[in-house]
Structure formats: structure tokens, C-alpha cells
């Protein structure tokens, strides 16, 4: 479901849903003739993390707050890095190894701003957007990931 982002024309796509994620659509959302540099990041589910095999991940979110935060971070990225356009899609529900869980795209006049924006946006998404992952292990075990305190990163 696309978030209403009418208020900032540079934020061209914000989605958070259980549909398969199409990275090409996220890249296409930032295509513009005024941009020379376009960066797309795609986060995919690894089949092994360290020595631990993952069969799948499951994502849950506080959806209204998460969509608002994603849109707010996109707008902040556009301001900070002078972007022409910025877009983000994040999955909910079960994501299998090899599939994309998140994609962000940023376009700018020059490549440095586009790289810096996409990397900054991924860091902020992982730090502040209310989305959680649950690891499903091959033995049937499940564990929600709550690595770092989010209270300090609050509003």
C-alpha cells in the first residue's frame, strides 16, 4: 500500500506491505532527467548469518507509525543530500532467503549525494522505524530481534 506522500514531491514511493518487493520499481520511482546519479540498495535475506542457517524471516511493524517514519526519513534525506527523488519499499510478513526485504533508491545531480543518501537512509531505517524481524531457524525455533535500545533514538 503506497503511503500518501503528496506533501513532498521528491518522495516518490513509500510502501510497507506483504507483497513481493520489486527493486526495479523502486529504482524506476526515482528516475528523472535532472538526476545524473541513481543509487539503489536492496537488502536480501541471507541463507546463512555467521554459522547460523536461516530458513526465512518474518517482519512485523507498527504500520501507521512506520509509514509515517519512512516518509519523514525520505524527506529528511532529500533535504540533507539535495536529492531529486527518493523512494523506499519494505516488506511485511514472511520473506524467504534470496528475496528482498527492503529497497531504497535515491537520485541526485551527482553520484556522491545519491550514495550518501541511500546509505544514510538505510541506517536511519534500521535505527528508528518500528519494524521488527523474527528469525525462523531450520529446527523450527523463532526469535524476535531486539538488538539495541530504541528509546534513546525516540522522537
Amino acid at each position: 500500500m503506497a503511503h500518501a506522500v503528496d506533501h513532498d514531491p521528491r518522495v516518490t514511493l513509500v510502501t510497507l506491505d506483504a507483497d513481493p518487493l520489486d527493486p526495479a520499481a523502486v529504482l524506476a520511482a526515482v528516475g528523472a532527467r535532472a538526476a545524473g546519479g541513481n543509487v539503489l540498495f536492496v537488502g536480501t535475506v541471507r541463507d546463512v548469518t555467521g554459522d547460523v542457517a536461516t530458513t526465512r524471516l518474518e517482519y512485523e511493524a507498527h504500520a501507521p507509525l512506520a509509514r509515517a517514519e519512512l516518509a519523514r526519513l525520505c524527506g529528511e534525506a532529500a533535504d540533507r543530500f539535495d536529492l531529486v527523488a527518493v523512494a523506499v519499499s519494505h516488506r511485511l510478513g514472511v520473506v524467504e532467503p534470496g528475496d528482498a526485504s527492503v529497497a531504497v533508491a535515491a537520485s541526485a545531480a551527482h553520484r556522491r549525494e545519491a550514495f550518501a543518501a541511500a546509505e544514510w537512509l538505510m541506517e536511519r531505517i534500521k535505527a528508528t522505524v518500528p519494524i521488527w524481524k523474527c528469525d525462523h531457524a531450520p529446527d523450527g525455533g523463532r526469535s524476535w530481534v531486539h538488538g539495541q535500545a530504541s528509546a534513546e533514538r525516540g522522537p
Partner: protein, 90 residues
């Protein structure tokens, strides 16, 4: 003289839980009797009412509607409130 009683107009507050916090509590929301108070008051009430979420609660933010709320912010009965434990999206 009778003891003061909770006024009948005192409302309640539904607090949404997510992920490992919902799993620890065995439910996706906690309902408290609530006649008003700050986010900090809410944290204390929840820790007492639901000790199984207390460890994650200390590391959680509080959201009202689609915004994060600061500890001094007032919360009214009926507000749309959620606990946001450390996030792990991406």
C-alpha cells in the same frame, strides 16, 4: 467518611504490543484503567501491571498515533498508544 473512589468518568487505555514484547506478554495489547498522566506515568503503570514485559519496556519508546512521544507528554484515556521495543527492520 468514605474512601475516595475512582470517578466513573475515568476511562481506559489500550496499549499495543509488538514482536518480542507481544510474545513475552502472550497478548498483543494491554488494557489499563486510565484517568490521565504522562508517558512516564504510563511506563510505571505498565511495569507494575505486566512485569513480564518490564525488561524490554526499559528499552522501548512510546508512540501515540503515528508519532513518537516524549516521557513528559500527557496521555489521555482512549489515546492510540503503542510500545516500540528496539527495532530490527531492514
Amino acid at each position: 467518611m468514605p474512601l475516595p473512589h475512582v470517578p466513573p468518568t475515568a476511562g481506559s487505555l489500550d496499549v499495543a504490543l509488538f514482536a518480542g514484547m507481544a510474545e513475552a506478554a502472550g497478548r498483543r495489547r494491554v488494557t489499563l484503567a486510565w484517568s490521565g498522566g504522562t508517558v512516564a506515568d504510563l511506563r510505571r503503570r505498565l511495569a507494575a501491571a505486566c512485569p513480564e514485559i518490564a525488561p524490554l519496556l526499559e528499552r522501548s519508546a512510546v508512540a501515540r498515533g503515528d508519532r513518537y512521544a516524549t516521557d513528559g507528554e500527557p496521555i489521555a484515556a482512549g489515546d492510540d498508544v503503542a510500545l516500540i521495543p528496539p527495532v530490527s527492520g531492514g
